[in-house]
Every structure is written in structure tokens, then in C-alpha cells.
């Protein structure tokens, strides 16, 4: 199966979209994890040169973006009123 190798701007767009979606998670731990996993995943795949593995990493990333978009909505629907104490820290220190 011939996969289409993404362009540089397509990869960057996916990266930014993932980070943007990560920020929408109401849950502290999930939000931080999604950010961290995105950054680490892209860093890890930075050295990929084989077109096939680039294409499959890109389609995996796109699938993850779709999941993240859906789940950010689900999490927002059932977000607890009280935030994690990790989210309150800036308010406490002021």
C-alpha cells in the first residue's frame, strides 16, 4: 500500500493541532500527558527517513488527533466543579 508522505507543513500543522487540542482537556493529568506525549512523540520520530515509516507515523498521529478532539469534548461534559490542586497553584502563590 503506497502511502502519501506528508509535507513539512502538514507535519507541523498536525503537531500544532495536537498541542492545541491538548490544552482543551479539563483534566490536569490528561492535559499534561497529551502535551508531553505529543512533544516526545514528534521528537522521537524526528530522525525518521524511510517514507513508509514517516507516512505511518503521520497517520497514527492523525488518528490520535481525532481521539483527542473527541475526548476533550467528553471530558469537558463531565468535568468536576473543583479543579485539581495542581491547577490552583498559581492562585495560591499570589
Amino acid at each position: 500500500m503506497a502511502k502519501v508522505v506528508p509535507t513539512r507543513s502538514e507535519v507541523l500543522f498536525l503537531f500544532r493541532s495536537l498541542l492545541r487540542t491538548a490544552r482543551q482537556f479539563s483534566d490536569y493529568n490528561i492535559r499534561e500527558y497529551t502535551k508531553r506525549r505529543t512533544i516526545d512523540g514528534f521528537r522521537q520520530n524526528r530522525t525518521l527517513s524511510d517514507p513508509d515509516s514517516i507516512a505511518s507515523a503521520f497517520s497514527l498521529g492523525k488518528a490520535q488527533l481525532e481521539i483527542a478532539k473527541r475526548q476533550a469534548v467528553v471530558y469537558s461534559l463531565y468535568a468536576p466543579k473543583v479543579k485539581s490542586i495542581m491547577d490552583l497553584k498559581p492562585c495560591n502563590s499570589i
Binding site: N29, K81, I85, M86
Partner: protein
């Protein structure tokens, strides 16, 4: 007759009185106060059990249960919505699609442990799998096999199943563990008898996180041709699990310890050489008659997705959890003396850090750490004030066993959470030690073990 009538009238009046009061209770002010005092949540914070917390505590108890990964929930949700079919329905699309999903999940679970999908049976959790393994095997081979070997640090459900077997006349050997929590292989070898029907040793301990030498135990069991069962609930997805390398005949797995849903687990049952069990649950003959009852499609799909994720993320998670564990341990040790790691430091799963703080009372420490969700050991026994039986089996002194705290680090734990946990723990331990006369005496150079307490 009259007395009978009187009694029945009395009973009726009492009963009606009781029911009326019962109905009124939720409306009475006392009950209303009790409800609101027990739990209250608004944007300012949570009040529960008399404790007020400004935000949701940071979670460091992943050995008790782990949060569900959003990717797992994403796989599950369709089976809670339109795809609600019973996987055992053979006559329509709803059944077929559910069956396909269950079989796909079975393959995902099997692939994580190096087994064939045919060897996986879905259950309600590791407790049920352990019960089927221990009681099922012995009941099936009861004519020839009358003896079980297990360890003193096993999970309650294995120990309790063994106790149940003892009541039926089977014999059980509870192997002691060394001070690092590992079993002595020579002791295991000498405990095996011709009528030993099962050896059950857990892979990763739930309280102290030590990893037993599974391959070596499997080798010994192979040598004596004894079935080997392991409770791998805490090992799955965290350390490499391979049923061939470990030579296990039965293995218990759990969904909610690997970022999957609660209420689902699996049992690995070897086909070659075949191991047979007596079912604990009789009925419609689902799961090849070994575990009757409708397979819960959404939960099973969640467990499958969690296993696939675990396979994909194991290396990444392991590296991260290791560094977080070091950060936590170094942070605490830098500022506090008298901190002891319970269980072997080399052969342990990094995500479980069981620490004892000398001269501090464990329950007061836990009470003070309301913003950190940790426990003193297993969730099953954390309600009692008794020190953990696992720590006692290790030979940990009573005073140190009372001060143990288990820090569980998982996929979603952040560096900032570890730093906050260290800060809060150090603060609380220092505060408690300041109040402790024992700590003062130790600082003055008195050995508290030599003190003759006058009233003892």
C-alpha cells in the same frame, strides 16, 4: 392465640413505625446535615468526611486503581451507544459486531503476554481469575492433588482461596519471604511434594512492588511438572510479561490496573500442556463453559485497547516512571533522615515506592497528607489500623510497618506533582517529628530500643 395476635399486632406497629421514621429521615434536619457534612462540592473546594480540600488531590495511588486512558474510553464508548449487542447473539448484526469486537480484544490481550487468543478467558477481574485458578485447578484434580504452595505476601484473594481449600481438607504451604520480599527458590524446591497441585506466586507485589524471579520459579515448576499460577495484575503492561518465558499455566490479569475499565479481567489458561479447571460460575456456557455470564463487550473492548496501548507505550512509560521515582526518592531522602524503602530496591517495579518514615505514625501522616492521594498499602486493608501483613512477612519492625506509605507513579503523573508530593510529605513528616518525643530522644543519642517503658 391471643398472645400470637398481640405479637403480630405489635410487630406490625413497630414495623410501620420503623418504616415511617425511615421515610421521614431524609427530610429531617439531622439527616440533611449529615448528608451535606459528608459531602459538599462547589467551586471553592470539596468538603468530605470533615476534611476541606481546596482542589482535587494529586493522585499517587495507581496500584489501587489507575485512571482510564482517554484512548481506552474512546474505544469503549461506541459499545455503550449504538453497538449494544450481546456478543453471544448469533442471529443478527448487533451480536456479530459485538462478537468481532470481543474477539479482537482477546487477540490484543493475548498479544501483550505472548499467548494465543484461544488461551484467554474474560472474567470480572483478577480476583475472579485468582479464585478460578486456585480453587478451580485443585477441585478439578482433587483425587490426586491435595497440596498448594503459595507465599505469605500474596494478595488477599489468593490467600483467602487457599484458606477455603484448607477448610475442605487440602493442605497449603505458605512460603516465607526474605527481608527484600523475594522468595527463596531452594525453599520452594523443597516444599514441592508429589501431590502438589499448584504453585501460586504473584509477579509484582501490590504493596511493595518487588518482582519475583518468575523465570526461575517457572523452571522449577517445569522440572517437577507442577502447574504454575501467577497473579500478574500489577505486572501486566509494566514489565515484559511472556507466558512462555515464565512457563506459567495460569495467569490472572486485571483491566483497571493498566488504565482500562474496572470490572473486567482475564485469565490465561495454557492449552499445551493443557491445564483444566472446574468453573466457579455455571450457566450459559460462555467463554467455553469456564466462565458463564454475558461477556461485557464495552469493558472487554476497553481492556483490549488498554493492552494494545500498554504494548505500545511500555518503553516510554517505563523510562518516565523510573525518572519520576528517582526524583521522588531523592527529593525525600535529601531532606529527611530515617527513610526506608520497603522491599528490594533492585528487583522492583519503579512505579511502586513503599516508604517507611521512622518516628512518625503512619495514620497521622496520611491524615496530614490530604492533598496527596496515597495509601498505607493495599486498598483492601487500608481501612484497618493493623500494619500490613506483607510488611510483617518481610520482617519489618512493628513501628516501621506502621509508618509505611505507598507512592504509586503512573502514566499520567507529572514532575510537578512529584515535587508537590515531596514538599508536602517533607513538611508533614517534619511537623510530626517536631511533636514526637521519640525523635527528640533519638536526636540526643538515646537508642529507643533500649528504653524500658515502665508501664508495658
Amino acid at each position: 392465640m391471643a398472645s400470637k395476635l398481640l405479637a403480630s399486632t405489635l410487630r406490625q406497629t413497630l414495623l410501620s413505625k420503623f418504616t415511617t421514621t425511615h421515610h421521614v429521615r431524609p427530610l429531617s434536619t439531622a439527616a440533611a446535615a449529615a448528608v451535606s457534612a459528608d459531602y459538599h462540592e462547589d467551586t471553592d473546594g470539596i468538603t468530605m468526611k470533615g476534611v476541606k480540600i481546596s482542589g482535587r488531590p494529586l493522585y499517587l495511588d495507581v496500584q489501587a486503581t489507575s485512571p482510564v486512558d482517554p484512548r481506552v474510553l474512546d474505544a469503549m464508548l461506541p459499545y455503550y451507544l449504538s453497538r449494544y449487542g450481546n456478543p453471544h447473539s448469533r442471529t443478527h448484526l448487533f451480536g456479530w459486531e459485538s462478537e468481532n469486537a470481543v474477539e479482537a480484544a482477546r487477540s490484543q490481550v493475548a498479544s501483550l503476554i505472548g499467548a494465543s487468543p484461544k488461551e484467554i478467558i474474560f472474567t470480572s477481574g483478577a480476583t475472579e481469575s485468582n479464585n478460578i485458578s486456585v480453587k478451580g485447578v485443585l477441585h478439578f484434580y482433587k483425587d490426586k492433588k491435595r497440596h498448594v504452595i503459595t507465599t505469605q505476601t500474596e494478595h488477599k484473594c489468593v490467600l483467602d482461596s487457599c484458606r477455603h481449600l484448607q477448610q475442605e481438607g487440602f493442605e497449603v504451604t505458605y512460603l516465607p519471604v526474605k527481608s527484600d520480599g523475594l522468595i527463596d527458590l531452594d525453599q520452594l524446591r523443597s516444599a514441592i511434594r508429589p501431590d502438589t497441585g499448584l504453585v501460586s506466586v504473584m509477579a509484582v507485589n501490590n504493596e511493595i512492588g518487588v518482582i519475583q524471579p518468575m523465570e526461575e520459579i517457572g523452571q522449577i515448576c517445569k522440572e517437577f511438572n507442577v502447574p504454575f499460577h501467577t497473579d500478574a495484575a500489577q505486572a501486566l503492561g509494566k514489565i515484559p510479561v511472556d507466558v512462555e518465558k515464565w512457563n506459567v499455566s495460569l495467569m490472572s490479569l486485571s483491566g483497571h490496573k493498566i488504565y482500562g475499565p474496572k470490572g473486567v479481567g482475564a485469565l490465561y489458561l495454557r492449552r499445551r500442556p493443557r491445564i483444566r479447571v472446574e468453573p466457579q460460575m455455571n450457566g450459559g456456557g460462555q467463554e467455553r463453559g469456564l466462565r458463564s455470564g454475558t461477556v461485557p463487550t464495552p469493558l472487554v473492548v476497553g481492556m483490549g485497547a488498554a493492552c494494545e496501548l500498554a504494548k505500545m507505550e511500555m518503553q516510554y512509560d517505563e523510562k518516565r516512571i523510573k525518572s519520576l521515582q528517582e526524583r521522588l526518592l531523592n527529593g525525600v531522602r535529601e531532606k529527611l533522615d530515617g527513610v526506608v524503602v520497603n522491599g528490594s530496591e533492585e528487583r522492583r517495579y519503579a512505579g511502586n515506592l513503599n516508604l517507611s518514615f521512622a518516628y512518625v505514625e503512619g495514620e497521622s501522616l496520611l491524615m496530614g497528607l490530604k492533598e496527596v492521594a496515597v495509601s498505607s498499602g493495599s486498598a483492601c486493608t487500608s481501612a484497618s489500623l493493623e500494619p500490613s501483613y506483607v510488611l510483617r512477612a518481610l520482617g519489618v519492625d512493628e513501628d516501621m510497618a506502621h509508618t509505611s506509605i505507598r507512592f504509586g507513579i503512573g502514566r499520567f503523573t507529572t514532575e510537578a506533582e512529584i515535587d508537590r508530593a515531596v514538599e508536602l510529605t517533607v513538611h508533614q513528616v517534619e511537623k510530626l517529628r517536631e511533636m514526637s518525643p521519640l525523635y527528640e530522644m533519638v536526636k540526643e543519642g538515646i537508642n529507643i530500643k533500649d528504653i524500658q517503658w515502665s508501664q508495658h
